[in-house]
């Protein structure tokens, strides 16, 4: 026995995303955002996408390219304060935006990735984020039912990966990546470094290979990955 190989090409991997697809995209700000996969998604141009991402990146970065190209119909997110274009498009009704409390977005994705039907929480129960959501009583206490989120495709950025798709993330670039890597029908990961099978210690794998479908090695990192100069 040996473990299967999942190394593919950028073009072919992204070609699985069709019009109307729901796409999860890892990252919190720059760290962990799969800029190369996003660029290819802009290149191939499928439309009416529902994007699930913590934030909308910043002007001229990542998700912003998808907004410019008009490929986004709906954005499920937690905070878009660093992208004026996203806010303007939301206010103009050019995109639908659904806001979640950040940890609840994480839990909804994790629930989807864990085959759960949903989770119960009291987070945001005093806010408009709770409006319209089903309530469930447990032991006399009222909770909001938050549905599980799954996607057709997840785009993941890893620091290191082996050919089976075991992934390791660096520092705060982990964020939503391991959760999204569990929650999509098809999971595509870009990795800064591809290492041979066995180079990632079995105790130190962050996303186990069985969750990953396609793996793309990055030959070089574009400017978008660099430290942001403010």
């Amino acid at each position: 026995m040996r473990l299967p190989d999942k190394i593919g090409t950028l073009e072919e991997s992204i070609s699985r995303i069709s019009d109307g697809a729901t796409v999860m995209i890892g990252g919190f700000g720059v760290p962990g955002t799969p800029f190369t996969l996003i660029r290819e998604l802009v290149q191939q141009g499928p439309r009416d996408l529902t994007i699930i991402k913590n934030d909308a990146n910043e002007t001229d970065m990542g998700v912003d390219h998808l907004l410019v190209s008009g490929q986004v119909k709906r954005l499920i997110t937690t905070h878009i304060g660093l992208n004026p274009r996203a806010i303007a498009m939301m206010n103009a009704g050019e995109i639908e935006v659904e806001f979640n409390a950040q940890g609840i977005l994480a839990e909804r994705i994790r629930a989807g990735g864990s085959g759960l039907g949903g989770i119960l929480t009291d987070i945001g129960i005093d806010t408009e984020l709770a409006s319209g959501k089903q309530r469930v009583e447990v032991d006399g206490k009222s909770f909001i039912l938050e549905s599980a989120l799954r996607a057709d495709v997840a785009l993941i950025h890893a620091d290191r990966a082996d050919p089976f798709g075991n992934l390791a993330y660096a520092a705060t670039a982990r964020n939503f990546n391991p959760l999204m890597a569990m929650a999509a029908t098809h999971v595509i990961a870009e990795a800064e470094t591809l290492v041979p099978l066995g180079d990632l210690h079995a105790d130190d794998v962050h996303t186990p290979g069985p969750f990953v479908d396609d793996l793309v090695g990055l030959n070089e990192l574009s400017e978008e990955y660099a430290v942001v100069q403010r």
Partner: protein, 210 residues
């Protein structure tokens, strides 16, 4: 039967082999066969079983057997392990059975008053693996059929079983009930029909043997 069951594993699959069977089924896969064996206590990429001398005290499978890793193995906690199962990433599981009904219900976790140690991870494997096959003797110790019209024992999961490998044959569970696919060498058609507790559809033409 184990050798025949091993052919159920296609290249690239993620497979959980249930308690006891892994080593035997695995022996029938070539050293270069691409497959990922999963065990629910937290390992993807099970390697060969160990002797007491080579065992790592921290490295067991869900049945308690000392196993090893292979290049690319990964450890994870129990929540991730079952997330993998429930979210559809487990392509195949091979389970034992007390009874299988003709609509694919599986009973393998409890015999009221006799055997009730708890289900462990068995319910999730049966309910959520993309394909569930059963390996079992065709009849119980006193000769009663394990393949039945309905299960009399408490159910593990309904309608989950796709195929059954027994010492007498390979039987699919179809919308019309049990259907014989192959018959074991040395077993006659009347014998297997007689040992099956529900109607058994026969294939058109010759019945392959294994």
């Amino acid at each position: 039967m184990v050798a025949r069951a091993a052919r159920e594993i296609a290249p690239g699959m993620v497979v959980n082999l249930g308690i006891g069977l892994p080593t035997k089924v695995v022996d029938h896969l070539g050293p270069d066969f691409p497959v990922c064996l999963h065990t629910e206590n937290g390992l993807a990429g099970i390697g060969p079983t160990c002797t007491p001398e080579t065992a790592d005290r921290n490295l067991i499978d869900a049945g308690g057997a000392y196993v090893s890793t292979i290049p690319g193995s990964a450890f994870f906690d129990s929540s991730v392990s079952f997330a993998l199962v429930r979210s559809g990433r487990l392509d195949l599981t091979m389970l034992g059975a007390f009874e299988v009904s003709q609509n694919g219900d599986l009973a393998n976790w409890k015999i009221p008053g006799k055997f009730s140690p708890g289900a462990g991870g068995g319910i999730e494997l049966a309910q959520k693996a993309r394909r569930v096959v059963v390996l079992t003797t065709h009849t119980d110790r006193i000769g009663n059929p394990k393949l039945k019209e309905t299960c009399s024992l408490p159910i593990t999961a309904r309608g989950c079983v796709a195929r059954i490998f027994t010492d007498m044959g390979v039987i699919d569970v179809t919308d019309q009930g049990f259907a014989l696919v192959e018959i074991a060498e040395g077993i006659s058609l009347p014998e297997i029909i007689d040992a099956t507790g529900a109607p058994l559809a026969l294939p058109a033409g010759d019945i392959p043997t294994f």
